[in-house]
């Protein structure tokens, strides 16, 4: 849902391997919007190093999972 809201596309299908190369509108500004939306949705804060190490949606989901477990 977050991806569909940020990219304003209800047809978007996301998998663990999805990354910025797969979504045309996924540019640097949308990346900021995506991370901020994730922070709001899950009540988390990410730092730039964590964000920089993410290669795809699967790794993002894993990071969110680890941070939620640590709360």
């Amino acid at each position: 849902m977050i991806f569909r809201d940020v990219f304003d596309d209800d047809t978007l299908v996301i998998t663990d391997s999805t990354n910025a190369e797969d979504i045309e509108d996924w540019d640097s500004l949308e990346h900021i919007n995506l991370i901020m939306a994730m922070e709001k949705e899950f009540g988390l804060k990410f730092n730039l190093q964590e964000i920089g190490e993410l290669a795809n949606v699967g790794e993002m989901a894993d990071l969110i999972g680890r941070k939620l477990a640590a709360k």
């Binding site: 500004l29 900021i32 919007n33 991370i35 901020m36 922070e39 804060k45 990410f46 730092n47 730039l48």
Partner: protein, 138 residues
């Protein structure tokens, strides 16, 4: 011009300024944009469409949000990333607009602020409302 850094800015902080919309302002906007729509250029046409007189271009009113971010909050270190606005009421030539922004969110990771923005006329009626996402340089 203000020169707020990200660290200087606090949630709840507000800045505002006022402008008067004139014929010259409208002429300049038309020269830049080429928008010759009669709603903005023909008093009779505007009245026939139910307005008091020629309606000021909505995007001209909205353009003062550039001033709000670029000069007042945060000012020099501003980089506007996105703007979402709604036009609530028509603006007419001669109106005095009060443009205000209030910081409602800060994101420390990206050094981004969210401004709740509003523009009111001399009667205190809101003519524009919305939000801006602004990056703030160090």
């Amino acid at each position: 011009m203000n020169t707020y850094c990200y660290a200087d800015i606090e949630t709840g902080q507000k800045e505002s300024f006022s402008v008067r919309v004139t014929e010259e302002t409208m002429d300049s906007f038309k020269a830049i944009t080429g928008d010759i729509n009669p709603l903005h250029n023909d008093s009779d046409h505007a009245r026939n469409r139910g307005y008091e007189d020629r309606v000021v271009y909505g995007m001209l009113t909205a353009s003062y949000l550039s001033t709000l971010a670029g000069v007042y909050l945060p000012g020099e270190k501003s980089l506007i990333q996105s703007v979402e606005i709604r036009f609530s009421k028509p603006v007419y030539i001669g109106d005095i607009l009060d443009i205000e922004g209030e910081v409602t969110e800060k994101n420390d990771t990206f050094k981004v602020i969210i401004l709740k923005v509003s523009i009111k006329n001399q009667q205190g009626k809101k003519v524009l409302k919305g939000s801006m996402q602004i990056g703030v340089a160090e």
